[in-house]
């Protein structure tokens, strides 16, 4: 049960990361693009189980 919940959290991170990546690809504002990547970083680190 506990591991299912943890998995849901990883899924949530993937979901959020996907939108951030999409946002990065689409935006025409370089500052926004940079910010998308900064925000993306912790989510990807968690999904890859690096931190």
């Amino acid at each position: 049960m506990a591991s299912v919940i943890t998995l849901l959290y990883y899924a949530l991170c993937v979901y959020i990361a996907a939108f951030l990546a999409l946002g990065f690809a689409r935006t025409r504002d370089w500052q926004k693009a940079a910010l998308q990547l900064v925000v993306l970083l912790p989510f990807v680190l968690r999904v890859l189980r690096l931190k």
């Binding site: 959290y9 370089w30 693009a33 940079a34 990547l37 993306l40």
Partner: protein, 385 residues
Amino acid sequence: MTRLIFAKILAACLFLACLVGGGLEMRGLRTYKESLVKGPGVTGTGRLSDYLPALKGSWGDTNLYFLDSGKPGGTALILGGTHPNEPSSIVAAFVLVEQALPEAGKLIVIPHYNRSGSTATQPMGAYPQFISIKTGWGEQKFRMGDRLANPLDQWPDPEVYVHYPSRQMLSNVDMRNVNRTWPGRADGALAERIGAAAMELIRREKVDFVVDTHGAELLYPVTNCIVAPDQGASIAQLAALDLTATEFEVHVEPSPAKFRGVSHREIADHSEAVPFLLESPDPFLDQPTGPKTEALELDGKDEFLLAAARRGLLFTDYDEKGKSMEERAGRHISVSRQLAAQWSLFNPERIVAFSCPGYAEFVANGLGPYFRDPAAAPEGSVVLE
């Protein structure tokens, strides 16, 4: 347009550098194994999961070392690495396993009580990832960990941590603090399972007293001390008086009855064993210090803290000499020895006695001579921690 693409590529490069470079470095800590050489005192090894199968295969499982004198007496459990960011505790446990010789009764030593926590450093802590102690044969390298269990092993945190079984509310991250999850819960979160396993170990091995070693900030009133519940007050007090008279200042703090989840409270309340928690002053942990470097962890010298000391803000003496790892790890061993001696006077049928280099030896010779060379160790005696 080209500027936008250029900016995006640059940002992506930086992102990938952080992800790969930073990620690999953190992965390096997570997977690094310390070498420990079983000393002549070690008569057996085990795993914490032997006492709670639910821990098996998890990052909460950890090695135990038995040092049995073969002579009748009592049993003491010594915990290192409850808070892996207080490494004097881990260093002391390593020396105990490599050097201690039991003379009566039995010692059980756990060098990495919170193994999960020893595999990641604290976000915003800016810790070094490793600390290395020079020896005659090279360097003995230790992981520098976090106070809490690694979120990769226990996630998510609750909004507020409700302690089992008292229902006291504690800070949410304390659910990953193995010194807030005593006496544990066999089907709880990882840190709670670690507590439950340790309680089972205490019961099954008929542990008489537990020594939980820590480091503490110098700005923290509970430093330089033994924290003991009523059951252990006299033993702790006599140990403190004798040590203060002979080796170094140490005092006793009573275990607060209302503070749940901590070893010095719950072990006393939920078992026959008497717990003692040792705090040795560790400047690295204080907020007002310069950069958190390996040198600061090892020699404990810091200018900011010195300024704080001059203004009378610290709860222990502090000067240019700092508070070295030798001193801090040595205190843990000397206090443990002294507690065993006092324990034995009060409980002659459950004597625990052991010899091991401690404060005086470390301060005089450094820590180097007390680590064995894994390359020169007899076959089968090297354990990867």
